[in-house]
Amino acid sequence: MQNLLKSDFYKLFKMKSFYVCAIIATAMAAISMFLDSQLNNMMQSMSDTVGDMMTSQMVTLKNILPTIISPTGDWFILVIIGVCLFITIEYNAGTLKNIAARGFKREYIFLSKLIVCVVEAFIITLCFAVSCVIFGFAFLGVPTGGFGDGYFTELFTIYGVDILILIGYVSLIAMVAYLIRTNGGTIAITLCAHYLVPVIITMFNVVTIMNDTSDSDLEKMMSYTSNQYGQAAYYWIGTLGGAVSESYHNGTIYIPILVALAYIVVSGAIGMLVFKKRDIK
């Protein structure tokens, strides 16, 4: 297993796609912070006309930091692409047979690749996050009034849960890669899921709210949002990151933790089973 990891890490650090994804993630963060700063400038100038309503909508480092490693943003497609390519290259090049035929158990081959994929995802995420912090400070500056008491405790708790969600998402992508076994198909399916499932969740939310039997629209909305366990966003790994902060404040942080763990276990089990049972071409 140790040798498999050494060889997989060597492969990862020789792959151009890994560096390209990391560089693009860094650039996306920088551009995003710059655009936010420009938006803030516009809102500041508009506040002279319409008052403080605009300034309250301004982007600050304080409200950005909790989201920077959440796998909900557009930048996460770079992680998806990186992970898909790393696993499927073995099928495309046919090199998986060289590994499997040398006496390595399939469980170890699967685990080694999963571990390296998690590290790859973490590195790309780190590139995005560090770039956000550096360029966030540069373009947005320190928030007025500082960060406040308890902010960093909450922040690192959220980061801990986000890392678990990241691992869950990588497990899911790996499972899809072992099921589909081609890089085009795997990337297509995971990208579609990344964008489509949140849309389906939104539709589900709207239908649920509309079908609520409360008298007013406000009551219907309140009824839905007060039901912590019934919200669909809590159960899809791609939207779970967006619910972590809210669940922290509601005392239901255990929901995203359990859901992330469930994704890790179930995706990992299915992926491993499929890989073990199927013939390697």
């Binding site: 040798n3 498999l4 050494k6 060889s7 060597y10 492969k11 020789k14 792959m15 151009k16 290259i89 090049a93 046919g94 090199t95 998986l96 047979k97 060289n98 590994i99 499997a100 035929a101 040398r102 006496g103 390595f104 158990k105 049972k277 013939d279 390697i280 071409k281």
Partner: protein
């Protein structure tokens, strides 16, 4: 006798099709086993089964007299179908990956590249290699870790004549000097016959025959078969005649049917029948049997 590989009624079914059908294969240690069969006969499928790339439908196999399959495969090098290499990496990098995977010292890489004739490819990426170069790199990967048993599926595909000779000489050297057992499958019967010490012939998923190189030669030698009413007397007469006529006598024997078998094709059969007639031996039938190597394999493969 020690065996590198034995299979016991090994079977693989895809839907209704029996790709490998109750195969009992025996590869003695230290031999070069030529695995012959038509396209789609089941050669690659059987190789994939024993290497753990496919799950058998039924049957079993064992390496090195019953060793655990995972441990045994660590002692086996293989090249299956087309060479599997990382296209965006150089030959050196490809070998480095497998060195790390197998825990082999990377200092052996230049020696291996030299052995397979890839010592001057520099920083060329594997995707830019010719088919022959890719094949050589695949063989180099198979040789990593100094395996005891080499399984090579069509290793000379895409090689030019000088490359074929180099690979042949390499396999013979690995077998004779280093005692490695080799299973080699190929369609090029001429090449197989130059290096194999034993053969397995597969047809429609079934192992039709296993034979040694000597057995193959004896079956492919042309013979003359003469059935008479007095085989012992006929044998003596023929021996005297051939000794007088040619100075040497080929092998003479009497088979189970009581016919005299001469171990070569006789052109002047008229002299033989005349000599037998003059000595009151009645010739009931006279035929020439046997075939060349290619015909023999083609007949057995169906």
């Amino acid at each position: 006798m020690e065996y590198a590989l034995r299979t016991f009624e090994l079977t693989k079914k895809y839907g209704e099709k029996l790709a490998v059908n109750n195969v009992n294969m025996n590869i003695p240690k230290g031999e070069v086993y030529g695995f012959v069969g038509k396209n789609g006969a089941g050669k690659t499928t059987l190789i994939r089964l024993v290497l753990g790339l496919a799950n058998p439908t039924s049957g079993n196999f064992e390496f090195f007299g019953g060793m655990n399959n995972y441990k045994a495969r660590a002692r086996i090098g293989n090249l299956i179908e087309s060479p599997a290499i990382y296209p965006n990496m150089t030959g050196q990098q490809n070998l480095t990956i497998f060195c790390k995977m197998l825990g082999v010292n990377e200092e052996k890489i230049p020696e291996l590249l030299n052995l397979v004739g890839l010592n001057d490819v520099g920083k060329k990426k594997a995707k830019d290699y010719s088919l022959g170069m890719k094949q050589r790199l695949g063989i180099a990967i198979a040789l990593l870790g100094d395996p005891e048993f080499l399984i090579l599926d069509e290793p000379i595909n895409g090689l030019d004549p000088s490359g074929i000779i180099e690979v042949r000489d390499l396999i013979i050297k690995l077998n004779k000097e280093f005692g490695k057992t080799v299973l080699i499958s190929s369609h090029i019967l001429g090449e197989l016959s130059k290096l194999s010490t034993c053969y397995g012939i597969i047809s429609n998923g079934m192992l039709v025959e296993e034979l040694t190189h000597e057995e193959l030669i004896s079956r492919c030698t042309a013979t003359t078969v003469i059935k008479t009413n007095n085989p012992e007397k006929a044998k003596q007469i023929i021996s005297n005649l051939l000794a007088d006529k040619y100075g040497t006598v080929p092998t003479l024997s009497i088979n189970n049917n009581g016919a005299v078998v001469i171990g070569s094709a006789i052109e002047d059969t008229g002299s033989v029948t005349k000599a037998l007639f003059m000595n009151d031996v009645v010739v009931e039938s006279l035929t020439t049997a046997g075939s060349d190597l290619e015909n023999y394999f083609v007949e057995r493969m169906g």
